[in-house]
Symmetry: C2
Subunit: 201 residues, 2 copies
């Protein structure tokens, strides 16, 4: 009897995990015990399926990582594209981006957590790090433009300010709990207040 048999009857005598469910479980395991320390056998064991059933969905462990990281990065990149498209002044773009990024982090928490732990140990990880750097550079350019507009304080270097803002945003993955007492929209308001207006009364 496999895990899936308990929820819904399997149709071909095989557990009925779809690609998305395999991805969810894999990302959870990667986050819990580390990507490098997790084998395809661990994953198959956790899902209660054979390794060949897993290979039906993904060619390799690395392919799972690639899809998960792409999901996190695409979310952040879309938030940035939307912010730029929706606003003409840089300060408003930055505010929209902060709100959008908090939304991505709370909605895709496990995949963003995985992204934030990537250290560049493989081509897939190197590629994800490159996309993160490009994202950071685009954001820093917006911060710089907002400084030129006189809307963001110029006494903090734009690259440092970008890192501080995203340091605060990214830290949400450590403690935010979906369905918990903190509402994601209110959290975005809090982050906007803290970063733009400051905590001083």
């Amino acid at each position: 009897m496999t895990a899936e048999d308990t929820a819904a009857p399997a149709r071909r005598g095989r557990p009925g995990y779809d690609r998305q469910q395999v991805l969810e479980v894999a990302v959870r395991l990667f986050n819990e015990q580390g990507y490098d320390a997790t084998s395809v056998s661990d994953l198959a064991g956790e899902l209660g399926v054979t390794k060949s059933a897993l290979y039906h969905h993904f060619d390799s462990k690395s392919a799972i990582l690639e899809v998960a990281l792409d999901d996190a990065l695409s979310g952040l990149e879309s938030a940035l594209d939307d912010a730029v498209r929706s606003h003409s002044d840089a300060s408003a773009q930055l505010r929209a981006l902060v709100r959008g990024a908090v939304g991505v982090l709370t909605a895709r928490q496990s995949r963003v957590t995985l992204l934030l732990r990537v250290r560049g140990n493989s081509d897939v990880e190197q590629s994800a790090l490159r996309r993160r750097r490009e994202f950071d550079q685009r954001v820093a350019a917006i911060v710089r433009a907002a400084q030129a507009e006189g809307m963001i304080r110029a006494d903090i270097d734009a690259a440092v300010a970008t890192r501080l803002i995203f340091g605060m945003i990214n830290s949400l993955v450590e403690w935010y709990r979906p369905g918990g007492p903190v509402d994601p929209d209110e959290l975005a308001d809090d982050v906007l207040r803290a970063t733009f207006d400051g905590l001083q009364a």
Copy 2:
């Protein structure tokens, strides 16, 4: 070989690592490849010493972790104690703590990095998580007191504000480089400006 031997060259034809140097290398390896994935053999190999030479300094891998985590936690707890002792109003305590915590993170970066990755997989890790929680609760109480003083905005929950401030501070371990272009004191100024005054011009 004992810690006291360290300042002087090894006298018995063995590599002259002292306890502190073993700790440094171990923490670097733990951060690079994960604590659970690092064996005492890996560590001995990295140092070019035998396992028994290592056991002369530390009883176990877990003992190394315990010392490293205690170093990070003691630094943060001392920063908090100093801040409370040096200032009577909560808002000034909070500012002093932010400055002190940035100092600890930049000075003990590798050990704080290790602390931030602890997930509670052993008694040593559980104990470190408990101390982190106690620290967070003491900081949240100061934030709450500063709100009561009218110095910190009250429209953000004190526990959330504490997490946002320390989210920003803790993120420094990801990118700060000792001896790099960013001076630790200026960085503390930037973090204080960003968290208290906000980025808005």
